[in-house]
């Protein structure tokens, strides 16, 4: 599903160059459930942003479903983000002025679904993440765990095959974090491909595949028996 060939990402600030990713080669198959671990600044987020078509690599080629991403237009990338990829961020990234319902609706709006279909889907997703009674709450009126559930529901809005999560439990206490991880396991069981960045070795160890990163390189990528 995902194939990275010699992917590099270099940031240039003034005269200072910084290599966030160095010639990454990685393949992720459909239904893979991967943890990405590594110290801060090792390039985990950059890797995920590139896989999620949120950022553009400075070198190498990224094939998504066997298509080179560099050949896609901005609009095609937007449509891929909309339909194929669901994002879950550490900082939730919900629209502050919108209710849970409205936040979940955002990708559905961009997909151009009818109002009826949008409402149906939002209702289903709220139930799925167990937040039926918070439908009309704004982010400020919810706990961290609830906000992350809303974000997951939003990531699932257009039923994407790929879920990318960047430290989804980083802002949560361990108990709440556990419930989020359980949700990811459910999503994996549904047949989705998941890529989860985490600091927590406990969480990583629960995932079938762990990708270790350091200094912009993948140092170890192994699957262990689930």
């Amino acid at each position: 599903m995902i194939k990275l060939q010699n992917i590099s990402k270099q940031y240039i600030t003034g005269s200072v160059k910084f290599d966030a990713l160095l010639e990454i080669n990685l393949e992720i198959k459909e239904r893979d459930f991967c943890a990405v671990v590594g110290p801060s600044g090792s390039g985990k987020s950059t890797l995920m942003n590139i896989i999620g078509c949120l950022d553009i690599p400075t070198g190498g080629e990224y094939y998504l479903d066997n298509k080179p991403v560099s050949s896609l237009s901005a609009d095609e990338l937007a449509d891929i983000r909309n339909r194929k990829i669901g994002f879950v961020f550490q900082a939730f990234n919900l629209l502050p002025y919108a209710t849970a319902e409205e936040n979940i609706e955002v990708p559905l709006l961009f997909a151009g679904h009818s109002r009826k279909k949008r409402l149906e889907r939002v209702k289903y997703l709220l139930e799925k993440v167990g937040l039926q009674d918070k439908a009309l709450n704004k982010p400020t009126e919810m706990s961290g765990g609830e906000m992350q559930r809303v974000a997951i529901a939003r990531a699932l809005a257009n039923d994407p095959p790929l879920i990318l999560a960047d430290e989804p439990t980083g802002n949560l206490d361990s108990k709440t974090g556990e419930s989020i991880v359980r949700l990811f396991h459910e999503l994996s069981a549904e047949g989705r491909t998941l890529l989860v960045i985490t600091h927590d070795p406990n969480i990583a160890s629960q995932m079938p595949r762990i990708i270790h990163m350091q200094d912009g390189r993948i140092v170890n990528s192994h699957a262990h028996a689930a």
């Binding site: 949120l54 950022d55 553009i56 983000r81 919108a98 990708p107 709006l109």
Partner: protein, 418 residues
């Protein structure tokens, strides 16, 4: 079509969520629009009123006075008096067929006018019927001006300026038919002048004048000289006033035997004044328009600023939306639509308020000299359209550029923005 409906849904939803900020912006634009429209509508009203006032004496004509020669000519000495005779009216009319009207007037100052026990000291005008139209001596309802039969029969009829009628017979509602004495001689009132604003005059204001038929005047005072001659070209020829003035002088010089280059006649070219007045008014309108434009520009800078800040503030939101699959064009158009909506709503409310204000002013029975000179503020359709176009451009630019900048970076850059 589908794209439009997506845009519409996103636009409406986000708009409702940010009603407070939008309202403030709209108020700013309403303020700007009201300022410029107020200036322009006062300018427009003043222009209109001053044009009317300027026409108060009549328009498209010239008034010619006789004078003294300054040079000796063909054996005749300098310093001779050249005065027009009543016969000159017909003479000039025949010699200058290109003129639409040639007429003249007699003036006699300090005449005793009385109605019952009310005595006034007034100037008496001896006039021809064409004067009515030429010098805007229009009668109020129920009255008339001097006519041909009055002239022929040398009737003792009198046409009163509205102020004279008011002074002379304040209690008489309709003076027509009343008897008024000039130097003890009875005259029948045939009409009272319709009140008018008059900015120019030679002699008293028309409202203060008393007019009788020229023939009756001749009979009373046996006056051999006209005070002046008035002539008017056809309306299509008013660009040729200078030429006509020259030709009139040539005819007069030939008849009265003076050097045509000698400045004997005094001519008041009313068209010249009209032009100057018009230019002043246009200049004033430009000035007011400029000030108004600056005011609107300030309002526009305000909108641009608010849009800029808003896009900056919402950079993260833009990042989130783009991560969720919003196309660049959608983000762009959403902001442009917002800016356009704000500017047009603000503009429309402003114009509407000004319209209500000026209409109310028209209904209010204010009658004072200031308003009579200034006129009522009038909303001009053209001004309104220009303002709407300017607002539209401001809205478009102020929405487009910051949004384009925000949408042109990768989603991750927008997401990182704090």
């Amino acid at each position: 079509m589908r794209k439009l409906s997506i845009l519409w849904n996103v636009f409406v939803r986000d708009f409702r969520k940010q009603a407070g900020r939008m309202t403030l912006t709209i108020i700013g634009l309403v303020w700007g629009t009201i300022s410029i429209m107020l200036l322009l509508s006062f300018g427009e009203g003043m222009h209109h009123q001053m044009m009317i006032n300027n026409k108060g004496m009549g328009e498209n004509m010239a008034i010619v006075w006789g004078g003294r020669t300054n040079k000796s000519y063909k054996g005749l000495p300098s310093g001779r008096r050249i005065w027009f005779h009543p016969g000159d009216i017909e003479y000039f009319g025949k010699k200058l067929p290109e003129l639409r009207v040639v007429t003249g007037e007699y003036m006699r100052w300090g005449q005793k006018l009385n109605y019952g026990d009310t005595y006034l000291n007034k100037m008496i005008n001896g006039l021809y019927p064409v004067y009515e139209e030429l010098r805007a001596h229009f009668p109020q309802e129920g009255g008339r001006f001097i006519n041909d039969l009055d002239m022929k029969l040398k009737r003792r009829v009198i046409f009163l300026g509205d102020k004279v009628a008011e002074e002379l017979m304040p209690d008489i509602k309709n003076p027509v038919g009343e008897l008024v004495n000039i130097n003890g001689m009875p005259f029948t009132v045939i009409g009272v002048q319709e009140p008018k604003q008059q900015m120019n005059s030679y002699g008293p204001q028309d409202a203060n004048k008393v007019s009788i038929p020229a023939t009756t005047y001749q009979l009373m005072w046996n006056e051999p000289y006209l005070d002046n001659i008035l002539w008017a070209p056809y309306d299509k020829d008013i660009d040729q006033m200078d030429e006509f003035i020259e030709r009139f002088n040539e005819v007069a010089a030939a008849k009265y035997k003076y050097d045509p280059d000698d400045k004997v006649l005094g001519t008041w070219n009313v068209v010249e004044g009209q032009k100057i007045m018009n230019n002043i008014l246009i200049g004033m309108k430009w000035f007011l328009g400029f000030v108004g434009f600056m005011t609107l520009a300030i309002a526009g800078v305000g909108v641009a600023n608010i849009m800029y800040v808003s896009v900056k503030e919402r950079t993260r939101e833009i990042g989130i939306k783009m991560a969720m699959g919003a196309r660049r064009s959608l983000v762009l158009w959403q902001f442009v639509c917002e800016a356009l909506f704000i500017t047009f709503t603000g503009g429309a409310i402003g114009i509407l308020l000004i319209y209500c204000l000026t209409e109310t002013l028209k209904i209010l029975p204010i009658d004072n000299d200031v308003l009579n000179m200034m006129g009522y503020p009038t909303v001009s359709f053209i001004d309104g359209s220009i303002i709407i176009v300017i607002l539209g451009i401001i809205g478009l630019l102020s929405g487009y550029f910051p949004a384009r900048k925000a949408a042109s970076v990768t989603p991750v850059e927008s997401l990182r923005y704090e």
